[in-house]
Symmetry: C2
Subunit: 331 residues, 2 copies
């Protein structure tokens, strides 16, 4: 990973959950890091996420929908980790045009900016397993049909494909990682906009029962954020990834009830309850999901290293001391 030493690294969504963890690692590796974030309160950006590295990164607050700012910021960069996105499936159904503007339109304009002023950089795009929709088979590999079940899935897919297209046609090296559930310190826990695990952690620490929708039998896989960051680093460092799409994932597959049973003992007095699926969530639920990530493992050597028990413990430990910065009215 010495490859990143003294390179210029731009991270969109850089004050968000994954972006800030990536920034921390990049700073350790000696990269010169610029973080772009809109700091829109409903999204994942939070200055607290970089409190320990704030004097070693450059922060530029702007929206990826601002094409002029972006064109200025991509100049001279060696790497672009393109992580900014609208992540809420429910919000995408209620306000589909905003989701389109951020997850599709802004992506195209970021790539156009690269084409105009810096076609030499390498781009790593954070995509999502959401675009597979309800799986036909498990584990889901990259050959699985694409069948998004919500507006967010459609727009993220368009955003992903613009990246591959600009790689193939315009020679801007780009690849995409389809992330599964990523969790850990820095995730949005105020509500369920980024991940349901966020609101679970909040409720647990607040002494309220975790709420599981339905029977809790839905299978999921999870990546601790450090493993996700490692995957991003490998994807950026390896030109064999250019023009390709890879699943991330984990061999540790659990259902939501099992996940709750792992979390609850980590907090004194923790409980969970089963509640009926809210209809607007049921309509876009994907059932069981877990990934086959063997392609990415084969091509880059990546394997997730932090098990779920350890990752959940670290996460709870973090929010027990940090909660004031994440769900206070000022957070």
């Amino acid at each position: 990973m010495n490859l990143y030493r003294d390179t210029q690294v731009l991270i969109t969504g850089g004050l968000g959950f994954i972006g800030s963890n990536l920034a921390r690692r990049m700073v350790e590796l000696g990269a010169r890091v610029t973080l772009v974030d809109s700091l829109i309160p409903m999204y994942g950006g939070n200055l607290r996420n970089i409190v320990d590295i704030e004097d070693r990164v450059r922060v530029n607050v702007c929206d990826v929908r601002d094409p002029f700012a972006i064109e200025y910021l991509v100049r001279g960069q060696d790497f672009l980790f393109n992580l900014a996105g609208q992540t809420s499936h429910i919000d995408s159904m209620n306000n589909p045009q905003t989701d389109l503007d951020i997850n599709a339109s802004a992506q195209l304009s970021i790539l156009e900016a690269c084409r105009r002023v810096n076609s030499k950089l390498k781009v790593v795009f954070a995509s999502t397993r959401q675009l597979y929709g309800k799986p036909d088979y498990l584990p889901v590999d990259e050959a699985h049909p694409i069948r998004p079940v919500d507006v967010n899935g459609i727009n993220k897919l368009a955003g992903e494909w613009y990246h591959l297209l600009y790689n193939n046609v315009h020679g801007i090296r780009a690849c995409a990682l389809r992330l599964t559930n990523t969790y850990g310190p820095g995730m949005r826990v105020k509500d369920a906009r980024q991940t349901f695990l966020g609101i679970w952690v909040r409720r647990l620490i607040e002494g309220k029962p975790i709420q599981i929708f339905g029977d809790g039998m839905q299978l999921r896989d999870f990546n601790y954020v450090d493993d996700c960051v490692e995957a991003l680093l490998l994807a950026g460092a390896n030109d064999a990834t250019n023009g390709k799409v890879y699943n991330l994932g984990s061999e540790e597959v659990v259902n939501l009830r099992q996940l709750a049973e792992m979390l609850v003992p980590l907090q004194p007095g923790g409980t969970f309850e089963l509640v009926p699926f809210p209809p607007e969530r049921k309509a876009i639920d994907i059932g069981d999901y877990y990934s086959d990530f063997s392609l990415f493992r084969r091509e880059t050597g990546w394997v997730p290293k932090i098990g779920l028990a350890e990752g959940l413990k670290r996460t709870l430990d973090f929010y027990r001391t940090e909660y004031a910065h994440y769900w206070d009215e000022h957070a």
Copy 2:
């Protein structure tokens, strides 16, 4: 098809090639037809296309990117044939944001308008075979992987999926037809923006050689516009199509050289020539393509009826007398 008698039918792209032919048929069937068209000169709308029915349709000139106009226009409609689109692959690469605005963003806003003010109508969306990209196998059926090779393909796909999503989640009945090369009277012949056959017809009538890019061995299938219109009528009339996507196509598959050899004798002095592929077209070329349309045939009984020889003859006959309205500076 008496189903359409006295119904309210809205056609976006209604002054364009397929839209105007559909309008003519709808008028014959006794529907009350409203045509929406932007009349943007680079696109397919042309008032000449409805010269014979202009007093039997209502024309509303506006852009599908105008959400307020669209919300007004969808009220009270029984059917929406959603045909407006940016069709040029090359333009989509040069001006990707415009393609996105029309082919993705406006589609979402049309569907949102339906959701707000008229969720009872049936929507038929004109999609494209372009989103399959370079085929893995032939003929291409609907299970073929999706792999768009240009911005237009990505945005049309997003537009298509919004329709299916609004069917599945919001109960707005919608289906999509993935059109292959459609040709006939009313197509844009000024240039190659809508179909390469357009510029071929123009050059032939102007006494210039038809230009084939490359060796002319690429296979294609073609639908005469009347057959395409029939498919749209069947798709709209049949609720078994709701939430589904269908290929159109033809069993008459020819390569581009054979097509030129069929066209040339239809015009005294007609010739063709092979010219090198322009690089910007080569980069997004899909190679051989033809469709398996058996799913749509099975579910609706549709079969194309106008053979290529007859269709090309009708097309040439039309433009020989009508050319002044299609490629004059005033057209």
